[in-house]
């Protein structure tokens, strides 16, 4: 019971996402931070107010953290289809690595 609970907590903290989700998270990080930086500079330069540059930049960073760091369901839409469990080990299946047969 306690082990199961601990396992759940660990899973929640680790927040794993699938491969497609990782690609999306990477893209979002780059895009959101870069765009918020550009907007921060342009707005501050036009308004001649450096404090707004600071706050837009920090706000953009906070938004990016919120969008990317938690394992949102969006990042787990493409779960990996593992092979079904085999009763007799790997004996029944043909595994190839770099064109060579291994067992």
């Amino acid at each position: 019971m306690a082990d199961e609970l601990l396992e759940n907590v660990r899973d929640a903290l680790e927040g794993q996402i699938d491969f497609e989700g990782q690609r999306l998270a990477e893209l979002l990080t780059t895009a959101l931070l870069a765009i918020s930086g550009i907007i921060a500079f342009l707005y501050g330069y036009i308004a001649q107010d450096i404090a707004s540059t600071l706050y837009i930049g920090l706000g953009g960073a906070a938004l990016t953290f919120l969008a990317v760091v938690p394992p949102w369901p969006l990042y787990n839409k493409h779960p990996i289809a593992w092979l079904p469990r085999q009763s007799g080990g790997t004996s029944g299946i043909n595994i190839q690595v770099n064109g060579k047969k291994v067992n």
């Binding site: 680790e14 927040g15 990080t29 931070l33 930086g37 500079f41 540059t53 953290f65 990317v68 760091v69």
Partner: protein
């Protein structure tokens, strides 16, 4: 990017990169904003008296007390990336020996904040010109309001009109004797302190869209002989703006 920790590290890492780049662009953007500082600085009066560095000192030195007029327009130094401008006036006089460099001493300085700088007790508050003073005393009924007005500079940041301004510091030579020294000159200098980027010193030469400082240099003058008991104490006072911080000595 597979786990929370790795995503957090990645986002923070790229955030620092973006912050550094934006700071660099801000620092570079000020080169697109033209500057044309100008000033006129004149000597009003100079006296030399005997004094001591502090109350208990047995050492007697000669102190020069220099009053000046300053009209400056440094408003173009204030752009969106300016935090404050440190303004100072030096008195420079040649050494007695040709092989030695000239001596320079600061007689007055001020920290002029930009509008984006938070309030600080050391910020210079430009005194109200005597002609405007009568206007403010007229509206004395609302005393709290006039008190508040007295805490604000009389001119926008970078504009100065000081008449017969007392020095902030009396100066002496390292030898303790400054009477009868010749060919002294008063010069206005400044540092522009930005929010991000380079600290800039005053220049006489132009750089691209930035003009060098025009004027801000008095004519040559000589320090007079020692004035004995004839010097009135009232004439030898030092003075700052109306800012809160007071000098501990002098």
């Amino acid at each position: 990017m597979h786990s929370t920790l790795v995503r957090g590290q990645n986002v923070f890492g790229f955030f620092t990169t973006v912050a550094f780049c934006v700071a660099g662009i801000i620092a570079a953007s000020v080169f697109l904003i033209p500057q044309a500082p100008s000033a006129s600085l004149q000597l009003r009066n100079v006296q030399v008296v005997k004094g001591r560095p502090h109350y208990y000192s047995p050492k007697r030195e000669e102190y020069a007390h220099i009053k000046f007029d300053l009209d400056a327009d440094l408003t173009t130094l204030f752009n969106w990336n300016t935090k404050q401008v440190f303004l100072y006036i030096t008195a420079t006089y040649p050494s007695l020996r040709a092989s030695e460099p000239a001596s320079s001493a600061i007689i007055w300085d001020a920290i002029i904040p930009s509008s984006s700088a938070p309030w600080h007790t050391n910020h210079y508050i430009h005194p109200v010109a005597p002609s405007d003073k009568s206007a403010t005393t007229k509206g004395k009924k609302n005393s709290s309001k006039s008190k508040k007005a007295a805490k604000k500079s009389a001119y926008p940041a970078g504009e100065l009109h000081l008449k017969n301004q007392r020095p902030k510091y009396q100066i002496t030579d390292y030898a303790g004797r400054i009477a009868n020294r010749t060919d002294a000159v008063l010069e206005l200098h400044y540092n522009v302190q930005p929010w991000v980027g380079l600290l800039l010193w005053d220049r006489r030469s132009d750089i691209a869209m930035w003009k060098g400082l025009e004027g801000g240099r008095s004519e040559l003058f000589n320090f007079p002989g020692l004035k004995g008991a004839a010097a009135k104490k009232e004439d030898l006072k030092t003075e700052k703006g109306a800012e809160g911080h007071r000098l501990m000595a002098g």
